[in-house]
Amino acid sequence: MWARIVECMLGIWMLISPFIFRHPTSATAMWACDWIAGACLIVFSLASYWAPTRWGHWWLLLVGTAMLAFGRASASPPLHPGLQNDIFVGICVILIALVPNCASQPPQQWREYCGLKE
């Protein structure tokens, strides 16, 4: 589940990003983007630990895409460091969200088929 832990840490990073990159207080959208993205990262990554919501991390593909789109589209380059952070972390999120739960094990269906233990 290492990918879910990385996502959770990226979520914390997004929550503190507005302070690190000194978002202007007037730029509400930037604050909202970072905090919503951070909350989604933490919620969906932790939800993936619970069997009924183990697909949660796939939603992070959308979150990552939204972060990338927001960072790239909300101003013209050179971008504010906060927006570059949205792009950079957004692409990383898309990448990490692809990694399955328990990625080093065969998928569940194959585990059951081969009689492999968890």
Binding site: G71, P78, L79, I91, L95, V99, P106, P107
Partner: protein
């Protein structure tokens, strides 16, 4: 229920291309390239004042500040070296994900990994060489990462080949796109099991 060997050699190789001993070196080398690219990105972000270049002096800085690099920054929104760092990070992350029989259990990861390593690696190498030719200055660390890209593409090829061949065998047995799609996303199928057996029997 059948036992599938997670370590078996496969298709024209005398080893398992999805084994950790095959994948971990790729991930380590990709991680090295990530660090080098991130270091160059730090310069483009002006978080460091200069870049180490033992061969071309300030060639690296000239290339990293060139018009070509600036144009690419304007397209992507972040420095091109940062984008490169993410691409190498992708090689490492997708290289780590999956079991030691992922060529059959999760072909989609192997193929995404292959797309990141092989076509993207070759394109970025060509771009680096072109940049040297267009800008007229060479960048030592860019050349190092380009060389790493080529090594990674060479190392990754066997696994991608086996996964593609697996999907091809599934297609040959069924001629049904839906079954190939199921095999691609890692579902257990009759055709997939037969294709896997066939590939294992081809091992040297």
């Amino acid at each position: 229920m059948r036992r599938l060997n997670l370590k078996t050699a496969v298709a024209r190789y005398d080893y398992n291309p999805s084994a950790w001993s095959q994948r971990v070196p790729i991930c380590i080398l990709a991680a090295v390239a990530t660090i080098i690219a991130a270091y160059m990105a730090l310069y483009q972000w002006r978080l460091v004042d200069s870049v180490w270049d033992p061969v071309f002096g300030d060639g690296t800085e000239t290339v990293l500040d060139s018009k070509v690099a600036q144009t690419m920054d304007r397209w992507i929104g972040i420095p091109d070296a940062a984008f490169g760092a993410i691409a190498y990070l992708g090689d490492a992350v997708l290289g780590m994900a999956g079991s030691t029989r992922r060529w059959q259990f999760r072909p989609w990861i192997v193929i995404l990994f292959g797309i990141d390593v092989i076509p993207l690696g070759i394109v970025s190498t060509v771009l680096v060489v072109l940049q040297g030719a267009v800008v007229g200055e060479w960048c030592f660390l860019c050349l190092v990462t380009a060389a790493i890209s080529l090594i990674l593409a060479y190392w990754a090829f066997d696994e991608v080949y086996v996964s593609l061949k697996y999907l091809y065998y599934v297609w040959k047995k069924t001629h049904r796109t839906a079954t190939v799609w199921d095999a691609f996303r890692g579902y257990v199928t009759e055709a997939g099991l037969a294709a896997g057996d066939e590939l294992v029997s081809e091992a040297r």
